[in-house]
């Protein structure tokens, strides 16, 4: 390699090629996932999640009066719990991913490695998503128990995987963005949690969404609310897969925009101090 040093052109020793480049995110994802799962955090979260599902499933199963329709609704509610809890923990993990490392003092060492900032965020995103996929896998036996008698297991699982993954990717990317931009971990977690509540709120209004165009728009804007609406429409109301596709627009937009913003801005926002160098 030739360089200009002290106004003279000279040669410097070339390092042995130990580059990987494109696979760096795999290394980051692998270590982050190990930290998440082998430290006990991941299994503990899943355990708590499974207890919640077990209680719900057992209550549904002991309800002698439950009819076919209510059983379908029970499957839908199980799916909603799985999606809600799965994306919640994914969001919280990603909201801690960068701001938490800053506070723990471990980010600087990572920034000193010859790994692009993009590879770092992709690796962390993938690691956070393992929580969602694990939550989905845990929900499978419960969906089977509740749904096999009413022949909607396959539909429910496909819906859960599709809608849940879309939401998980969007919210995880969003959480990472917030984490990179926030100066403290507490602020990052608070903002992420608040945003998730805001996304959930329209679907939880007493009496449902307001009638008219406003309610319609509100229902479609919230990615979580509209994603769950789509799931209910197909699973409970028997709508075709394509009839309510408009409700998948906002989850898709969130996933695409948040991921794109994260990848494009990563070099600028993944820094030692939040908000860049001021």
């Amino acid at each position: 390699m030739t360089t200009l040093v002290n106004g003279e052109i000279g040669e410097t020793a070339t390092r042995p090629a130990t580059t990987r480049g494109q696979g760096d995110w795999v290394v980051v994802a692998g270590q982050e996932s190990r930290d998440l799962w082998l430290s006990g955090r991941g299994p503990l979260l899943l355990f708590a999640f499974s207890v919640l599902l077990s209680v719900f499933t057992y209550l549904a199963a002991t309800n002698r009066a439950i009819n076919f329709l209510e059983q379908r609704e029970a499957v839908d509610q199980t799916l909603q719990i799985a999606i809600a809890v799965g994306v919640l923990v994914t969001l919280l993990v990603s909201a801690d991913a960068i701001s938490g490392e800053r506070e723990r003092g471990t980010l600087e060492s990572l920034l000193l490695a010859p790994v692009s900032r993009r590879a770092i965020v992709i690796g962390k995103l993938v690691a956070a998503l393992t929580l969602w996929f694990a939550a989905f896998v845990v929900s499978v036996p419960y969906v089977w128990v509740l749904g096999h008698g009413v022949s909607i297991v396959r539909t429910a699982l496909l819906l859960g995987l599709g809608v849940g993954t879309l939401l998980a990717v969007g919210l995880a990317a969003f959480g990472l963005l917030i984490s990179a931009l926030c100066s403290s971990n507490k602020v990052s977690l608070a903002i992420s949690f608040f945003l998730l509540l805001a996304f959930f709120a329209p679907s939880q209004l007493p009496g449902g969404l307001p009638k008219g165009w406003f309610g319609d728009v509100l229902g479609k804007i919230s990615p979580v609310g509209s994603g769950l609406h789509y799931s209910t429409a197909v699973l409970v109301h028997g709508h075709g897969w394509t009839r309510d596709l408009v409700y998948l627009i906002s989850p898709l937009v969130l996933a695409v925009l948040a991921s794109a913003a994260l990848l494009i801005l990563s070099e600028r926002i993944v820094r030692l101090t939040a908000g860049g160098e001021r």
């Binding site: 430290s39 299994p43 899943l46 599902l53 076919f68 329709l69 008698g149 075709g240």
Partner: protein
């Protein structure tokens, strides 16, 4: 000889009239020549089964019909509350004008979500520029659908899952903690 032939023809005509009024799915007729028939008189199913209801709309008139609306209905014969939307998400179909002496086939996929006995039938209404909102309506004869109930969810059946899954995951969480402590 002529009298005997005439009587035979008259008898045949009477028999034909009786046959037309018999129990096989009869075409319901309207004044404008539209008739609607269903393909089968009865269906037996178990709750949750998906059933296809087939029907034919025939225009026995001499001119093409107006655009039509064909609407599927489900009526309980045993007093069970029926919400049509639970049985099918698309009970109403818009039918293009049927040519004179032509037939259009329609079908609905429904899911038997209640147990009991039900009549499922099709009503056809005109939906042309001038005929929309006015009659006459033509209804098919009903398909008698008998749906048997089935208990598919019980506490005993769910126990293996509700106990085993938390146990396995709790064990994994504990193992992870112990592994950390042992280091």
């Amino acid at each position: 000889m002529k009298t005997r032939r005439g009587l035979a023809i008259a008898a045949l005509a009477v028999l034909a009239a009786f046959a037309a009024a018999g129990e096989t799915p009869a075409a319901a007729q309207s004044a404008n020549g539209i008739e609607v028939t269903v393909d089968q008189p009865r269906i037996t199913a178990v709750i949750g089964d998906r059933i296809t209801i087939g029907a034919h709309v025939t225009n026995s008139g001499s001119t093409a019909s107006d655009p039509l609306i064909a609407h599927l209905n489900v009526a309980s014969l045993t007093g069970t509350y029926v919400d049509l939307e639970d049985w099918t998400a698309a009970p109403t179909q818009h039918v293009q004008p049927v040519d004179a002496h032509a037939t259009t086939a329609l079908s609905w996929e429904i899911q038997a979500v209640n147990a009991g006995r039900f009549d499922v039938y099709v009503a056809v209404l005109p939906n042309g520029l001038t005929s929309s909102g006015s009659g006459p309506a033509v209804a098919s004869s009903p398909v008698e659908v008998t749906v048997a109930g089935k208990r598919t969810l019980n506490a005993g059946g769910s126990l293996p899952v509700v106990i085993a899954v938390p146990l396995i995951l709790g064990g994994a969480a504990l193992a992870a903690r112990l592994r950390l402590r042992r280091r």
